[in-house]
């Protein structure tokens, strides 16, 4: 009786086994990488809001400080989305009849909140505190990007855990002096690592990577 399989079948079998592993691994890697792309993380995707509010206009154009609206950024976990009253402080006078601002006026008149769409939306099991980051010299634009150049808001980072950990592991790469935290046009110096190292010491910044730092 002749052999059913030609000797080359051995090689083919090996190639198939190895090929399957390679295909599975590649497939896994592709899924893994897709999970980090802006397609999934929605980075750089401008989000539509109930009101065509432009950070570019208010920050770059009018020169408002971040804290004029985001009042609790130095006090609490949330930076704070301004109450309608804050909008009306100016818009009772300026563009007081603009059709774009009709939702603001009706919110104020009817005592109904404006429902903004969350742009920087961390997963539900993460507890982030703005005030401590600001206190330790993390600038607004470090995470939020150049909001002064964004007509509608978008994210410039994935907001995934590896992105958080990048700074938590080596904060010296990103820290800036406390006086520059709210500067939107701040440019890190060429010797950022040296400056960051000094700030880490001066601000007693610790590299916190325990799970319970953020998850509880």
């Amino acid at each position: 009786m002749s052999q059913i399989f030609h000797p080359s079948a051995n090689g083919i079998a090996r190639a198939i086994v190895i090929g399957l592993i390679v295909v599975a691994a590649t497939g896994g890697y592709i899924v893994y990488e897709i999970g980090r792309t802006p397609y999934v993380t929605r980075a750089y995707e401008a989000r539509q809001q109930p009101i065509q509010f432009s950070h570019e206009r208010h920050v770059a154009g009018n020169g408002l400080d971040c804290r004029y609206c985001h009042t609790s950024v130095e006090k609490g976990a949330a930076a704070g989305i301004p109450p309608t009253k804050t909008c009306m402080n100016c818009h009772a006078q300026i563009f007081s009849s603009s059709p774009y601002l009709e939702p603001v006026r009706s919110s104020y008149a009817n005592d109904v909140s404006i429902q903004w769409i969350k742009v920087h939306d961390l997963p539900d099991f993460v507890y982030f505190n703005h005030s401590i980051h600001v206190d330790k010299g993390v600038g607004c634009t470090t995470c939020h990007g150049r909001v002064d150049q964004m007509p509608l808001m978008w994210t410039v980072h994935s907001l995934q855990m590896e992105w958080c950990l990048d700074c938590h592991r080596s904060p010296e790469k990103y820290l800036r002096p406390r006086s520059a935290v709210f500067k939107v046009d701040y440019q890190p110096p060429p010797d950022q690592i040296a400056l960051g190292g000094e700030l880490v010491k001066a601000y007693k910044v610790k590299s916190l990577t325990s799970c319970s730092t953020c998850h509880r």
Binding site: D111, C211, H215
Partner: protein, 1003 residues
């Protein structure tokens, strides 16, 4: 539970007498140690633990595993759904989103207030904390106060005003009400009756008195099922008029309790636990601690702390009090001899009292007859305790009356046809009134009935009008604490269900029916302020509301004159023979008002550790004599009335007694409380509120399963609970550590991990713990812990992150009892961490054993490998994710866990983080005391201390250095961060050993 209920009492005795048995035991089943019990014990989760060894179950398991693996990769590619941010239109002052605010107010039980601080997140109350400035709280709480959050958000609360079941408006009610009231001005209000619970509120009392001034023929009745009629009658008998009695437990070196559960749910109990623990604290070399003698029928928290306990029938207690009075030399004390069983302990206690004149205390229980109270007053007077350990003040109640008599009069008038308008302000008398008064039948005869209540309960069903009541956290009000201190109660939130307060309802009698509760309360305090010559009322008001205490309102001690005791004590007490039925308020649902609160229903009751049920409690000897086993359904007949319920054998229950707890068998409590347990009010009569003789018990031959947690997570007889006597400690403080020395740190081959910054740790003083359970409910509230229901508890799936284990030592009839709260020990060498395949439980650099929910895949290996059995698994979706009001009550700083996730104590990591962030922003270290865990915060005994063990000056580090400090199962080299301080009994050397005394004649 049902597979091991055959208790072999002879086996129990043999094991206790011989050397084969354990020194400490947790239940009679454990003592009997049957094969069935062993089998039960070795399955960590009594059901479905062995599914994997069953071929069919395994196939199912693998199929599900395969499916979930296939889906695991896909989940990473989902985009996050868009979420909305909803800012304020006009932001309130002082509000920082995400930062809770705390508001002072008070909560009442039986009319008596305890001050609280309520944590409010963006206007939603989420947690009750004690108010450190309030004398009845000193920062601590009890279980009922903690559960007030759940009551506030209870979706079963009454939500609509109704007339004969039809929805009506408030103005329709006021209109109908005034249409009946106005014509009665001519007859001075004849036929108008108002029924309230015990009232300490100055405003409510003022309103009722003003109403009575307008309608002089109207009458005010008061009734609480758990009332203090005996206390009032006792002090009236002793002093001629009713005075409030207040105790100073910290100043007493010898305390004798005559069935008084001072460490339970008496007015002032939270403070009493604090003071008692202060008097028992043994630190350093000083061996100074008070001694407690307790005579009682059913085991209570107070009896559990006794150094010497007498288990005695209720009918014999008067004789015990009389004998004690005679022994300490009270003139005119009864001459009847002390009951045989109590004599030795009683004589020794009397000598102890006499040796500590002026620094001792005798307390009579609220349930004891007036004669016992009168005797206790006389004993305290004879021992010179008045003014030192006992303080008398004016009554705290606005209008002290004999409440049973008050209700009896009301029912007589109702039946006599002289009542045409009855206003029931709070309470549920149809359910709680003594059975012989037939209150419900009388209620049906009244022309106009209105009920104000939190629930549409049994009383609401029989009243024409029902008005939903505002929860105490929703309305303005005021109330007094047990020492007279007044608190102005402020609302934390607008009424969720349109509730009204009693103040608003009573205003309908007045010429200004629309007046708000806020104005009414302010009127009262304006008057008080002007009497106290306060010039700046606004400042006074703001400070009082802010502090939660109106300064200077505590009652001053009052001088009293004792009458002759022979008149007070009445005829010579005689001890009845035969079985006696003892009725008590339930330790967790009280008189039934908390029946719809899952937190309290699922809270394991002290000693029995039963959940979701009340039982007929027997002592071991009585049960053996009557042939009754655990879970047998028995019928109790007493004075022609009967009830039926499951039996439970309780070590320490007096012979020839059965104890039943009130508050169960509700029919209109709500979805949680309906049909749970049996109604013990069925046998309660106005002449036998607290106990009745002549009871008979019949075993129905049927049995019903009960859900007790006492046997879950057993620890197999190692040196887990460590106890000793004060004497032992003074002679050799190191005896605790010698019981089971910890292994050397060099035992492991790994280099030791160094904790450079903070190292969090906790010390739990078992000597202070009285087993009140406040920590369990506080933890549940703080950490969003779900209620799982009776079936799941029976399967060992309760979710409490902290449990209070009870250990017994000594004979089954009258053992010593010890409580040990056990939560995650945060081991430095944590056995759970090394077995987790997905690194979902890992160590933090500050020594916390972190649990990462989003990593957990639910293998339960960690729980299997945990020697302390403190990990809890979400077998099902236990959280209610749908009911909107329940969502509001959750702590937003803690993840709400879903199905398939392991969870456990985190040391309240959210509070640690909050304190750390605050300290970092101020550029300083976290100070000792900045972080208070939820369990620690609620503990009245201050038995739990948390802090940084790297700081040698911290309280926790100093406690860890105490000789009494030991690690739980330290011999396993787990190096727990939580350590315990051993319990001590202060044994009277005359009596030799710390044990109870009881009647051993029945075999």
């Amino acid at each position: 539970m049902s597979e091991h209920h055959d208790l072999d009492l002879s086996a129990i005795r043999a094991r206790l007498d011989g050397t084969s048995g354990p020194e400490y035991w947790r239940s009679l089943d454990e003592l009997a140690n049957s094969e069935a019990f062993q089998a039960y014990l070795h399955r960590e989760f009594p059901e479905q633990a062995s599914e994997f060894t069953d071929p069919v179950g395994r196939r199912q398991f693998l199929r599900l595993m395969g499916a979930s693996l296939a889906l695991a990769g896909v989940s990473a590619c989902t985009k996050q759904p868009a979420e909305a941010i909803v800012p304020y239109v006009r932001a309130p002052e002082e509000m920082v989103p995400g930062k809770p605010l705390f508001f002072a107010t008070a909560l009442t039980l039986g009319g008596y207030a305890t001050g609280v601080l309520v944590e409010s997140h963006e206007g939603r109350p989420t947690k009750i904390e004690g108010n450190p400035e309030h004398p009845a709280s000193l920062g601590a709480t009890d279980i009922f106060m903690q559960a007030a959050i759940l009551a506030l958000y209870d979706p079963d609360r009454s939500q609509t005003l109704s007339h004969l079941g039809d929805i009506r408006t408030w103005s329709a009610f006021v209109g109908a009400f005034r249409a009946v009231v106005e014509p009665k001005r001519a007859s001075e209000g004849a036929g108008i009756r108002v029924l309230t619970e015990t009232v300490t509120s100055p405003t409510l009392a003022r309103q009722i008195r003003e109403m009575l001034a307008d309608f002089p023929a109207a009458k005010w009745h008061q009734f609480d099922a758990v009332n203090r009629d005996n206390v009032r009658a006792g002090s009236t008998a002793a002093f001629g008029s009713h005075v409030e009695t207040r105790y100073q437990l910290d100043k007493a070196r010898v305390i004798v309790s005559l069935d008084a559960d001072v460490l339970g749910a008496m007015p002032g109990s939270v403070r009493y636990i604090h003071d008692f623990a202060a008097g028992r604290r043994v630190r350093g070399a000083t061996g100074d601690m008070s001694r407690l003698y307790v005579a009682e029928s059913a085991p209570t928290n107070t009896g559990g702390k006794a150094d010497h306990r007498i288990a005695i029938k209720p009918s014999a207690l008067e004789a015990v009090a009389g004998a004690l009075a005679r022994a300490v030399g009270v003139p005119g004390a009864p001459q009847a001899p002390a009951p045989e069983a109590a004599r030795t302990v009683l004589d020794a206690a009397a000598r102890d009292l006499l040796a500590n004149k002026g620094a001792c205390l005798v307390v009579a229980g609220d349930e004891q007859p007036a004669a016992v109270h009168a005797l206790a007053h006389a004993i305290n007077a004879a021992l010179g305790n008045v003014g030192t350990t006992v303080v008398y003040t004016d009554p705290v109640e606005a209008e002290p009356v004999d409440q049973v008599q008050s209700l009896r009069d009301l029912v007589a008038d109702m039946n006599g046809g002289t009542v045409d308008l009855l206003l029931i302000l709070g309470g549920n008398p149809v359910y709680t009134a003594p059975a012989d008064l037939k209150f419900g039948d009388a209620l049906r005869k009244i022309a106009f009935t209105a009920h104000l209540g939190l629930y549409e309960d049994e009383t609401a069903a029989l009243c024409q009008w029902h008005v939903p009541e505002a929860h105490p956290l929703e309305a303005w009000g005021d109330a007094r604490a047990w020492d007279g201190t007044a608190t102005i109660m402020q609302p934390l939130i607008a009424p969720l269900y349109g509730g009204r307060s009693a103040h608003e309802l009573l205003a309908a009698f007045s010429s200004a029916p629309g007046r708000s509760a806020y104005d009414l309360v302010r009127d009262t305090w304006k008057k008080t302020a002007s009497e106290a010559r306060v010039t700046d009322f606004e400042g006074y008001w703001r400070k009082s509301v802010h502090d939660g205490v109106v300064a200077g309102t505590a009652f001053a001690p009052k001088a009293v004159t004792l009458g002759t005791i022979s008149a007070a004590a009445g005829s010579a007490p005689k001890t009845a023979s035969g079985l006696e039925c003892v009725l008590r308020a339930d330790p967790t649902v009280h008189d039934g008002r908390f029946a719809n609160l899952g937190w309290l229903q699922e809270l394991p009751k002290p000693f029995t550790k039963l959940t979701w049920d009340n039982t007929v409690q027997f002592g071991p000897a009585t049960a053996a004599r009557l042939g009754i086993k655990n879970e047998d359904v028995v019928e109790v007949r007493v004075r022609g009335r009967r009830l039926q319920g499951p039996a439970w054998i309780v070590p320490g229950q007096a012979d020839d007694t059965v104890t039943v707890h009130l508050g169960y068998g509700r029919t209109r409590a709500g979805r949680v409380g309906n049909g749970v347990g049996f109604d013990a009010y069925a046998v309660r009569t106005s002449d036998g509120l607290w106990w009745m003789d002549g009871a008979a018990v019949r075993n129905s031959g049927v049995s019903t399963p009960l859900a007790s947690t006492q046997l879950h997570h057993d620890m197999d007889g190692r040196a887990i609970i460590r106890t000793g006597t004060l004497d032992q400690y003074v002679k050799n403080p190191g005896f605790v550590k010698a019981m089971e020395p910890d292994p050397p740190k060099t035992l492991t081959m790994y280099p030791p991990h160094e904790y450079k910054g903070y190292a969090w740790g906790m010390a739990v003083d078992i000597n202070a713990c009285v087993g009140c359970n406040a920590c369990v409910v506080a933890c549940q509230s703080e950490n969003n812990i779900p209620v799982v229901g009776r079936e799941q508890v029976a399967k060992g799936r309760e979710m409490h992150w902290i449990r209070v284990d009870t250990y017994y030592k000594g004979p089954a009839e009258h053992p010593e009892a010890y409580h040990q709260p056990v939560m995650c020990q945060h081991c430095e060498n944590a056995p759970c961490e090394v077995v987790c395949p997905v690194a979902a439980t890992v160590h933090s650099d500050e020594g916390l054993n972190d649990m990462v929910y989003n990593r957990c895949v639910g293998t339960r290996y960690c729980s299997n490998n945990c020697p302390y059995k403190v990990r809890r698994f979400n077998f099902l979706l236990y959280q209610d994710w749908d009911t909107p009001t329940l969502k509001m009550g959750r702590n937003p700083d803690v993840s709400v866990r879903s199905r398939g996730v392991m969870e456990k104590c985190t040391y309240c990591v959210q509070r640690i983080t909050r304190a750390k962030i605050d300290s970092e922003k101020e550029d300083r270290q976290v100070r000792d005391g900045d972080i208070v865990t939820a369990c620690q915060q609620s503990c009245p005994a201050e038995a739990i201390v948390f802090g940084n063990i790297n700081d040698p000056e911290s309280r926790v580090a100093r406690l860890r250095a105490e000789a009494l400090n030991y690690s739980l199962l330290g011999e396993l080299n787990t190096r727990p961060r939580t350590t315990y301080l051993a319990a001590l009994k202060n044994v009277n050397p005359e009596l030799g050993h710390a044990t109870g005394a009881g009647d051993d004649t029945h075999e």
